[in-house]
Symmetry: C2
Amino acid sequence: MSDLQFRGYAINDTAKWTEFEVRDFEPMGERDDTIDIEIKYCGICSSDVHTITGGWGDINTPLVSGHEVGGIVRKVGKGVKGFKVGDRAVVGAQIDSCGKCRQCGDNQENYCPKQVDTYNAEAWDGKITQGGYSTAIRAPERFVFHIPDSLPLEDAAPMACGGLTVFSPMYRFGVKKGMKVGIAGLGGLGHFAVQFAAAMGAEVVVFTHQQDKVEDAKKMGASDVVLTTDKDWNQKYSFALDYLLVTIDVSKALPLTDLTSMLYVNGVCHLCCMPDDPIEAFQTQSLAANGASISVNHVGNKIEAEEMFRLAADKNVRAWKEMIPMSQVGKGVQGVKNNEVRYRYVLKQDLA
Amino acid sequence: MSDLQFRGYAINDTAKWTEFEVRDFEPMGERDDTIDIEIKYCGICSSDVHTITGGWGDINTPLVSGHEVGGIVRKVGKGVKGFKVGDRAVVGAQIDSCGKCRQCGDNQENYCPKQVDTYNAEAWDGKITQGGYSTAIRAPERFVFHIPDSLPLEDAAPMACGGLTVFSPMYRFGVKKGMKVGIAGLGGLGHFAVQFAAAMGAEVVVFTHQQDKVEDAKKMGASDVVLTTDKDWNQKYSFALDYLLVTIDVSKALPLTDLTSMLYVNGVCHLCCMPDDPIEAFQTQSLAANGASISVNHVGNKIEAEEMFRLAADKNVRAWKEMIPMSQVGKGVQGVKNNEVRYRYVLKQDLA
């Protein structure tokens, strides 16, 4: 038995989404495949902000959010094969799936119709899942990731959602040397996307409305940066990109047809974002000029997560982060909402 | 010199789009690569109706529409290598491209930014292109297709747009045996799509709101037909399709999220339609459950066109058509608008 306490920073009301209070909670029930992890770090993802502000709908309160969790294994179920007590481990935005459907059998567990979110979802035993702004998390082995020894835990944690969400679609598309890849939006997801696309060998062009991020983008690996506040900003790369990953998380700031106009024939505009409001209505005519596609993903699978961590270790991909004590999570979520963060807040444990 | 007269059935006003009158017109100027074709047949495509009704915007009048043209070569420019006088030949929705850009060099001439539509577009010499409801057409060799001897000209003509528009995206996706392909909408495009998907070896499921088309769909090669008027019609194939080709040409009849819900992980919903109005606004969340894509195309290239005709000849794909005299084109466009056609009107020459 581990003596982990499950205790976290919870909000009670979406109208008061910066007001957190410490509460004990019950994790999902133990199974043969569950692992208990003592949390050291947790990234703040914009999903957390969408959720706690009610932007994605009603939530269960009190709620502990956070799904970019890094920690140390303290207990393993008797069926766990890949982890032992003392291992470093990371958990992302998904905590469970049915394990029986076609998707689960195909290593597409992130598309299981019964997938369980890391927080604000119903676990296998009916409990509401609670996230990583907390002392500890219990997760089935399939949703716990190994990281290479050389990758710092505080960098790996925010990659578990923010990194994987951009890595998985680029990995599936087959981003590689010789391709020209655009990254639109340079926030938490975008800053990982630039680094991973460059690590995969692509020529990377960043599209941002923020002049003060231009130098950062280049340091992250961009070969060019286009300011979307410039007139006709989408002309320079007209018909030029093989792939464009969009991390702009506000519908009205997402100029879909301008973005897709930069794709070469049959290029893909991948929307790595879930704005509160619908994407602008579009006409198929606007995509027909280049036969473009629009695609979407939901995080990634375990194989991709561990590939990502290996690539990060090999190519020195890191979270550009501001570390703050977990007790200052209210300030953190406010900073994400206000787009003040450069580029990810990582909460450091101060409860345990 | 051929003694072809260029004369066609033209409309003068989008408000009077069923009123055609016979007019002489000037084709694009001759070049070394142009071919003059005496027209025998021309299909009526729904694009023609979108255009002449003004649904896609203002047009040049008088206008001869029609871009599913089948005929006999009567003259070839001195640079023409693949055709000789007397050959059968087919022309589709595109009549020219710049020939110099990256797309043209990549056999992606259908995505050339300077592509020229077969009618209502400005040709290389400034003339407005006129379509196939007429006695003759002049086209550069790149936009004139060969057909196998065993394929009737009156079947090949409507395939030049209605067939190619559905063939090209399925060919690029790689539809093949072992795949489950949905076809939504069983009109002019859909009826070709069912036949080609089956000819490529896929298991084909048709989605239609018309009970009276069920038996036809099966004869065309569908293994199952789902009536979209049934309650929960999209449940049976939830997460089941690899590819879904949508030929529903009216935005409000196009239930995008119901359609995409039927795709397996990373499946593609291909919109082979250009409704007058925008597609419904969508949330990325609705595509995230299966990581689906939405794609669009603009007809196909010459290589694909000639592949399509070979497959049609080999696998006995035919236009299910109603032949009408070209002089009855007004009745034809009305029948397309009212969705009365089963499944393609083909105009038979009566002017020459």
